[in-house]
Symmetry: C2
Subunit: 262 residues, 2 copies
């Protein structure tokens, strides 16, 4: 079954969860500040949560800043997960066609991620090369930061820019491998995005530290038989004292909350 | 002199040129397809053009697809140029504040690039961390691809999205280190962007293979004492038979044309 959105759904159903664990780990916040400890700890987090987590999101910024060693860890992560969960390269790429093709190659072939986040500013031809793989493409629609008001939330021909993005994403979803990034802090806007994006899966950041509602995110995200993927990063990886036990416990708590809502 | 836009201008004045050579090199198009040959050839291109070229733009997609080895070359390039020209990391990054901060660290500190291209879709707080360095930030404004019509060219409150981006860029230019990416294929739109972006330098792709006018790009880009940086990639690196002699010759030709217009 190579259709990405089917694989994503299957993995979520099998683990009876919608949780995406964001591995946005800052090595300087760990108790031992060496890169080998960092790499080992990332793998330990994965192993202690992977029976519960169907999806992992890896924020490339946290690894690229570490240079060559960070780049290696990005590659080690997919090797370590090895099909036990879906991986999202949260890399927010996007360029003209030829370059996007090479970014797709970098993320999907070279680093072997299952999916990627991309920025839609450059339009359809910048997105298309990513969609031609049997991998997933999560397009930034409405993000959870304040800056989303600067452009995303502006009206174009009577409709918000983020709705235009949702519409283009639907039109482009010929391989059933496109999803949207929709911030959980924007509850009142989620309803209209769901109308426009029909059955596309959503990757939803903003629950947890940023204060978005888990219940509303799942409720609105699930309409039209759609799949909401709830990303939690700091709320889990820095839970309690940040020990593996605390991380396991927080993952169980989020899983329980999600299952209760489902 | 640590103000980026001053450094950029100084380098252009000293070399009496506005040419940015885009090192968008595909290793599979070279006569020897090994990564060590590729790395050597990139360095040879730099050495054979650096007396003329004030700026080099490195498209990260072409290097990231090569994995670890490509990542190394990204780092080797800045070491090799070593202050002899301004480097632009054409990486089109952009994320929420905390992550943008780490991308800035990755590009400016770890890889030691002088400047970066970024996507504005996520708004001001996604751009700000890059501007807090004494390095340069080229914000995508109006790009040269067809997809620029999908969102950039749409009206928001009676003004094109790209003009809103130009306005925000101006407002944010407190450290005099912001520039815009403005495609040369959009001549009739360049005039209005110049009005809005006042004295910001422009990085102008789209001359050469994409058919933009060199003369108009320099003429409009130079208004209000501004600095147009003309990017040429394929038109130089694949000139003639793609030999170093051909690359040198094409660089001289572009330099001559630019000097004639100036």
């Amino acid at each position: 079954m190579n259709i990405f959105n089917h694989r994503l759904l299957k993995c979520c159903m099998e683990k009876n969860n919608r949780l995406c664990l964001g591995l946005d780990l800052d090595n300087r916040k760990l108790k031992v500040n060496t890169l080998s400890y960092f790499e080992g700890f990332v793998k330990d987090i994965i192993d202690t949560t992977i029976d519960l987590c169907p999806v992992y999101k890896i924020n490339f910024a946290f690894y690229e800043r570490l240079g060559k060693a960070g780049y290696n860890i990005l590659s080690e992560i997919t090797e370590h997960i090895n099909g036990r969960a879906i991986t999202i390269a949260d890399a927010k790429r996007g360029d003209i066609g030829n370059s996007s093709k090479y970014y797709a190659e970098a993320i999907f072939d070279t680093l072997n991620y299952d999916s990627i986040t991309i920025s839609p500013y450059m339009g359809e031809d910048s997105i298309k090369p990513f969609c031609e793989y049997d991998k997933g493409v999560f397009i930034l629609c409405l993000t959870s930061n304040i800056g989303s008001n600067d452009f995303q939330n502006k009206n174009i021909d009577g409709e918000k820019l983020y709705l235009h993005v949702a519409k283009l994403a639907c039109d482009m979803n010929r391989n059933n491998n496109i999803g949207l990034v929709v911030g959980a802090t924007k509850n009142n806007q989620m309803e209209s995005i769901r109308e426009y994006s029909k059955g596309l899966p959503w990757l939803i950041p903003g629950v947890g530290f940023q204060g978005g509602s888990l219940e509303d995110s799942i409720r609105i995200g699930s309409k039209y038989d759609s799949l909401p993927i709830i990303n939690v990063s700091r709320g889990i990886i820095y839970a309690g004292n940040g020990s593996l036990d605390d991380i396991r416990f927080a993952t169980e708590e989020y899983t329980k909350k999600i299952r209760d809502i489902l």
